[in-house]
């Protein structure tokens, strides 16, 4: 298995989405388990990479050879079993490749065997509920990082992980192939965005959802909070983000809550939407909300939340133009709506001297706090503040 010198087109592999940069002399791209074993043979230490979409710098090499799995990117099996669907793919297969397989099986990128497998897709409209927003993430990376997307109402990632193949290299277990459970797209989908003039109102809305028991409703699949700063980053990046341009400009506001409803019953989705509107009473302008339905329109509106992290990364890139040693500082923390409400003031107080933004999933409990250092001197202060907050 050949290793290449890390220069020219391979320099990108020295960093990941955290914007941290490491060092390495060599990189290999195995395409299957046999080549992977060959690449690992004799290596005392190595940095395993997928698509490098992680935000915590876990794919940044530290003077070790890089073994990148992006060429292990094929769908290997697809089957239907007792009404459920399962797809198996090599660890380096991206979600985007899986979507291509599911939605455009005649696309040019598929191998002959994959096109044959995709024959079983006829009449299906499938999706992977825990999929994170980043479609360039690899399935191996998603499983290793326990990453998941906004549809927390479908349950945890482990409920959709049907099989996993691994090999061992020293003390490290390496995922080589995963089997994921897929579900048919729900017949009725609604995406609703509520805007708030004050942060307090947006948090009160989340509290009302919790107290009314709406978070436990079967059709409520996502409840995502975005603070004023996040919305500001989204507004600023709209001009250069094709994915956001199909949406209207964001209104001036201090917070937003994005909710997704999925149901097989049209009336159930509508009834939940009516209840949401009732709970919004007195907290914002009901004529200023955004509401869409249907798969394609809902996926478009979901981009608003999906793009939040990319908008933040864009801000970090702007800062890095002045100081390349800066990187994103952040934490993914578990919150219930109530604990989030209780700790909001404390978080604000500890972090108010920094530029920071908050967004996240309040049904699955994962809220992302991003801190954007003005320069490298702020990084340690930010880390300390997060530690003090135990985030």
């Amino acid at each position: 298995m050949p290793f290449f010198a890390v220069k020219d087109e391979y320099l990108d592999y020295l960093h990941d989405e955290s914007r941290k940069t490491g060092e390495s002399d060599s990189i290999a791209f195995p395409a299957d388990t046999r080549e992977l074993k060959s690449a690992l043979n004799g290596l005392a230490s190595f940095m395993l990479q997928g698509a490098r979409t992680g935000l915590f710098g876990l794919a940044v090499p530290n003077n070790t050879p890089i073994v990148n799995l992006s060429k292990m990117n094929r769908v290997t099996a697809f089957r239907r079993d007792e009404g459920a669907y399962y797809i198996s793919a090599q660890a380096g297969c991206t979600l985007g490749c899986i979507y291509d397989f599911l939605r455009n099986p005649d696309s040019a990128g598929l191998l002959k065997k994959e096109i044959e497998l995709a024959g079983g897709l006829s009449g299906t409209n499938l999706f992977f509920p825990p999929a994170p927003s980043e479609s360039s993430a690899t399935v191996g990376g998603i499983i290793a990082a326990k990453a998941s997307g906004i549809l927390a109402g479908y349950g945890s990632l482990s409920e959709y992980l049907s099989g996993i193949k691994k090999i061992r290299a020293g003390n490290t277990e390496i995922i080589t192939e995963v089997t994921l459970k897929l579900l048919p797209m729900p017949e009725y989908m609604w995406g609703i965005c509520f805007f708030f003039a004050g942060a307090q109102e947006s948090l009160e809305f989340i509290g009302r959802l919790s107290r009314a028991g709406l978070l436990q409703e079967d059709c409520v699949k996502a409840v995502e909070y975005m603070d004023e700063k996040t919305l500001g980053f989204l507004s600023a990046s709209r001009e250069n983000a094709a994915r956001l341009k199909s949406l209207p400009r964001l209104p001036e506001c201090a917070g937003a809550v994005y909710i997704e409803l999925h149901s097989a019953d049209e009336r159930a989705a509508e009834s939940a939407a009516e209840r949401l509107l009732g709970l919004y009473d007195g907290l914002g302008d009901p004529d200023g909300t955004w509401a869409v339905s249907g798969q394609s329109e809902t996926l478009k509106l979901r981009e608003l939340r999906h793009y939040a992290q990319e908008a933040v990364n864009g801000e970090i890139d702007n800062i890095r133009r002045g100081d390349s040693s800066v990187f994103l500082v952040g934490a993914d923390s578990a919150f219930t709506p109530d604990s989030f409400l209780r700790r909001t003031d404390e978080i604000k107080e500890k972090l108010c001297r920094f530029e920071f933004c908050v967004f996240g999933n309040l049904t699955g409990g994962r809220v992302r706090i991003n801190l954007l250092p003005k320069d490298a001197s702020e990084i340690d202060l930010m880390k300390n503040a997060l530690e003090e907050l135990k985030l």
Binding site: D8, E9, I192, F194, L247, P248, R249, E270, A273, E274, L276, L277, Y280, P286, D287, G288, T289, W290, A291, V292, S293, Q295, S296, L301
Partner: protein, 262 residues
């Protein structure tokens, strides 16, 4: 003041063709509101906010009612679906004739707003043809509706890279170009309210001219003889470049096209 918007439902993605009849196989793909109709609808919605009534029309199969539902969600007052086997296979002439008959049925309009063209047929002929059938003026490539008066509308239209402001006598038909008017999203309140609104079905028997030979394929003057992908006339080799080389090439090319430095 009465305003109407003519909408069309189009395939969301490239659809298959019936090569014999030369028509799009509309039943086999997900459908959506024609993207070029969105600025027209937004322009009309803004006028509606100034005490105008807004009706929307579309012609197509029963599934086309979804675009009427979308218009209701955004605030349209009434909607009309021209749906009948006798409308099937219409070219732009027969389509605009049917729409003109429908508009007359409702007593006519002060202003009829259309999209610039559609993503499926892409002829851009319907708005002007509709005006001709109604014997009223037409103005295309409208980039802004400046003001609406009792008997005229002031418009800015784009022409040859320049904008021209004109005043057009009412009633008239205009087609709105992309740019100023980004279609709003429905609010949850209006979306829920729209669920209770219903469209009106229109068929040729209801029109002043009920002669079926004037509608659909029989009322059409054109037939699509053949549909085929455009022939590629030029082939360029792909270049493999480093990021530095690629960015230098792009900057150089952009400067060459603009005739100077970026």
């Amino acid at each position: 003041m009465k305003i109407a918007v003519m909408l069309k439902q189009v395939p969301l993605k490239a659809a298959g063709m019936d090569m014999v009849r030369g028509v799009i196989l509309r039943g086999q793909t997900e459908k959506t509101l024609n993207p070029f109709d969105k600025p027209a609808l937004e322009a009309a919605l803004r006028l509606r906010e100034e005490s105008c009534s807004l009706d929307v029309y579309t012609m197509g199969p029963s599934s086309a009612a979804n675009v009427l539902k979308s218009a209701f969600e955004l605030g349209a007052d009434r909607s009309f679906l021209l749906c009948d086997a006798r409308f099937s296979g219409a070219d732009t002439y027969a389509t605009s004739y049917a729409l003109a008959q429908a508009a007359k049925l409702n007593g006519g309009y002060d202003l009829i707003v259309c999209g610039d063209r559609t993503t499926d047929g892409s002829t851009g002929q319907c708005p002007a043809s509709l005006a001709a059938h109604l014997n009223i003026p037409f103005c295309g490539q409208v980039v802004s509706i400046e003001s609406l008066h009792r008997d005229s509308v002031e418009l800015t239209r784009s022409s040859g890279g320049k904008n021209i402001t004109i005043s057009l006598r009412l009633p008239c038909v205009i087609s709105v170009a992309e740019g100023k008017y980004e279609l709003r999203l429905p609010s949850l309140k209006s979306k829920l309210a729209a669920a209770k609104k219903e469209y009106t079905l229109l068929t040729p028997d209801m029109f002043g001219d009920a002669d079926p030979s004037h509608y659909g394929q029989s009322g059409s003057f054109t037939r699509v003889a053949k549909v085929y992908p455009a022939r590629q006339t030029k082939q360029s080799a792909a270049k493999k470049l480093s990021p530095h080389e690629a960015s230098a090439l792009i900057v150089g090319e952009a400067a060459r096209v603009k005739g100077g430095a970026l």
